[in-house]
């Protein structure tokens, strides 16, 4: 949507928060309850089933840790992109956003590698409660990473032309949220015994 075609509704800001950022907050709020519901279900099962710890010990902690590192770093790039956008430096913001989505790509590759190993060892989606939650949680999170990457590349394309710079911050917010989700998934799926 090129800037001229925007309805006036989109340009108003009665709350003092720009419309784009406002909708981002609402999206994040609705994501919190989606992930929250799944995590709550997992946690109460996990506490109720101590024997799941045995399955959990098969997960590749180092891979999870490396992925955490990747996401933290990409979050850094995202927030630096936001800083650049505030300085009206579109091209730099675009560069940093592309770097961020590169981080997302690495994350997904590591995940793929990791899952290959798990499946080779015979742990699939239907191999008992822990593995069902493990693949479901990580899979849902992975989908969010993928979606974030795609949107980020689109935003970057605009930003490179110094257009829609306000979107840089918004996609950044979303990315940080995905990061935070992983910050909790990592101990829940890999470390807790």
């Amino acid at each position: 949507m090129s800037a001229t075609a925007k309805p006036i509704a989109n340009t108003r800001s009665a709350t003092g928060i720009p419309t784009a950022r406002l909708i981002t907050w609402w999206v994040i709020a609705s994501e919190i309850v989606i992930f929250g519901g799944l995590l709550a279900s997992y946690v109460m099962h996990r506490i109720g089933h101590p024997e799941w710890a045995e399955s959990a010990s098969h997960t590749l902690t180092w891979a999870g840790a490396f992925n955490t590192f990747v996401l933290l770093t990409s979050s850094l790039c995202a927030v630096l992109a936001h800083k650049a956008a505030d300085a009206h430096d579109g091209p730099r913001a675009a560069k940093l956003l592309r770097l961020t989505s590169l981080g997302g790509l690495i994350f997904l590759c590591v995940k793929a590698y990791e899952w290959t190993i798990d499946i080779r060892e015979g742990f699939v989606l239907s191999s008992g409660g822990f593995w069902s939650f493990y693949y479901t949680l990580a899979g849902l999170h992975g989908l969010h990473v993928l979606a974030g990457m795609i949107i980020m590349l689109i935003v970057a394309a605009d930003a490179a032309k110094n257009q829609e710079l306000q979107r840089v911050e918004c996609i950044g917010l979303y990315w940080h949220f995905v990061d935070i989700v992983w910050i909790f998934l990592f101990p829940l799926l890999y470390i807790a015994r």
Binding site: A9, I23, I34, S41, T136
Partner: protein, 558 residues
């Protein structure tokens, strides 16, 4: 920025199918919802015929077998709640009214808005397509309790169950996008001068409903993913033989399912508030109090869900807590209804069709409300749970919400939507022809319920106590009343279509109303306002002393 690029009249195809104009999207939601309502109504006709005249050939359908009966009641429930009440009450009225009432030219995110409708349409198609697959549509009740819903070996609808689940999830996504859009538009895009308490109640209520939906649906989306994997990938989330727990789904479902009741109730309440204010020529009694009670209801609706599960095998101690919170929620709702009744005091009440509908809403909804007390108090629920008493109770809330309030809204805003007035006589005929049979349908069901008729049963032949002739007479009565009610709906359809062409033209403000949507021509042009309005006062300034005419539009300077 120049808006003329945006507001040039687009071509026919873009206009009717890929329009981003909120009014067009509202119409798409409205007509999709009405079409689904016809389908859901037809299902009701079929299974009521089976209950009224057991094992007879049903004209237009045929013989109702047990499996078909289950599918019919399941689809009736799902369609009426997810594909009729929500699209019409929230999406249709929300899309049409919010930009007009807050005084801006469109939704804040028109393309997200269009996208949400397209997903919704897809969900409807997916649902209906389940009638074509082997095994037929899902028949495990709209609550879809696993393991029945999780395993084809139990529900015998291998594909239907999955399609139902997919359709529901898509529908949720559509309304998440739509609801977030409503919220952002109302928060950010209000006309200059429109303060928090200058927003018409109907907008308030639609937005609060969207927020409640957004906050409650998440866990069920997660739960639906788990159920989908149980169905298709043989996981064991809800399978007790493999460390899962069937109760988890029930909790996730009702954690959304109860707030959902208020998600559809609030917009209805808002519509009724606006209609009453206009036709009683009266300021809403305690506008802010209405809002406080709404917030209270919104919060409390998150802590009552397990009253749907009192006898479902939850820990009995929990039932005590949820029983208390359930009766607690009756407090703000009662207050809201009292305020509406008090609004009538000192008005000058014009009994036009919209007001008739609005008053009928309150009168009938009160019955639905008080019968809820029987079910909310855990002691009596032991007996009444899953009987026809429950059915009668929630139809006394849902019919006023999804039928009566919707008619109030349609008859009230029809002139604005289509630029012509509905025929008043036909409107009154339709009103009485709907409301009287409605009571004749469900009062007998209260009695059969107290007599122990259980739900979702295609025939009582197996049950000596339920197959007493006296009870069968009641069932037949309610079926006949349903036929009458359904047949009167065609009066409305005729009125609707006929008035599109022949109705007398409405003009900008036929009801002499205050809110902003009446300041623009009917139907509003693309882009709504010639020049965007400024707001000087609240929406309900009727009968202000010392003014020539008894109303005072929001955009008129003092």
């Amino acid at each position: 920025m120049s808006t003329d690029v945006q507001h040039a009249e687009p071509g026919i195809f873009r206009k009717y199918f890929f329009s981003t104009d909120h009014k067009m999207i509202a119409m798409q939601y409205l007509f999709t919802g009405m079409a689904m309502a016809l389908i859901g109504g037809f299902f009701a006709y079929v299974f009521r015929m089976q209950l009224g005249f057991p094992n007879q050939y049903v004209p237009g359908y045929g013989i109702v077998t047990p499996g078909k009966y289950n599918a019919l009641v399941t689809m009736h429930g799902s369609i009426m709640i997810f594909w009729v009440a929500m699209p019409v009450l929230i999406a249709a009225f929300g899309n049409f009214l919010i930009p007009l009432m807050v005084g801006c030219d469109d939704m804040a995110f028109p393309r997200i808005n269009r996208f949400s409708y397209q997903i919704f349409l897809l969900s409807a198609v997916v649902l209906l397509s389940s009638f074509l697959v082997t095994g037929g549509p899902f028949g495990g009740a709209w609550t879809a309790y696993p393991p029945l819903s999780a395993s084809a070996a139990f529900n015998l609808t291998p594909i239907g169950a999955t399609l139902w689940l997919l359709a529901v999830v898509l529908e949720f996504v559509a309304f998440l996008l739509g609801g977030i859009n409503f919220t952002v538009t109302t928060m950010n895009s209000r006309a200059p001068g429109m303060k928090m308490y200058d927003i018409p109640l109907v907008v308030w209520m639609i937005v609060l409903a969207s927020i409640i939906f957004m906050a409650s649906v998440g866990p069920l989306v997660a739960g639906a993913v788990m159920l989908l994997f149980d169905q298709t990938m043989s996981t064991g989330f809800y399978d007790p033989t493999r460390g899962g727990d069937p109760l988890l789904w029930q909790h996730l479902f009702w954690f959304f399912g109860h707030p959902e009741v208020y998600v559809v109730l609030l917009p209805a309440m808002g519509i009724v508030a606006d209609v009453i204010a206009v036709f009683a020529r009266k300021k809403i009694f305690g506008y802010k109090t209405v809002l406080y009670t709404t917030w209270a209801v919104g919060f409390l609706s998150f802590v009552v869900w397990a009253h749907h599960q009192f006898v479902a095998g939850i820990d009995p101690r929990m039932a005590n807590i949820f029983s208390v919170t359930t009766l607690l929620i009756s407090v703000p709702i009662t207050e809201m209804v009292f305020l509406y009744i008090a609004t009538l005091y000192g008005g000058s009440i014009h009994l036009d069709t919209p007001l008739l509908w609005a008053l009928a809403f309150i009168a009938e909804f009160m019955i639905g409300g008080v019968t809820g007390i029987f079910l909310g108090s855990s002691g009596t629920d032991i007996y009444l749970h899953d009987t026809y008493f429950v059915i009668a109770h929630f139809h006394y809330t849902f019919v006023p919400i999804a039928i009566i309030a919707v008619y109030a809204g349609l008859t009230f805003w029809y002139p604005k939507m289509f630029g012509r007035m509905l025929n008043e006589t036909l409107g009154k005929i339709h009103f009485w022809g709907t409301v009287i049979p409605f009571n004749v349908i469900f009062i007998p069901l209260f009695i059969t319920g107290t007599a122990g008729d259980q739900r979702r049963v295609y025939s009582y032949a197996q049950f000596a106590e339920q197959s007493r002739p006296a009870l069968q007479h009641l069932r037949t009565t309610s079926t006949i009343a349903l036929l009458v009610m359904l047949s009167f709906q065609f009066v409305f359809l005729f009125n609707f279509v006929w008035s599109l062409r022949k109705g007398k033209s409405a003009g900008a403000n036929p009801w002499r109303s205050n809110t902003l949507e009446w300041t623009v021509p009917s139907p509003p042009p693309h882009g709504n306002f010639a020049e965007l309005p400024t707001v000087y006062r609240g929406p309900y300034e009727y009968g202000l002393p010392g003014r020539a005419d008894d109303f005072f539009p929001q955009n008129v300077p003092d």
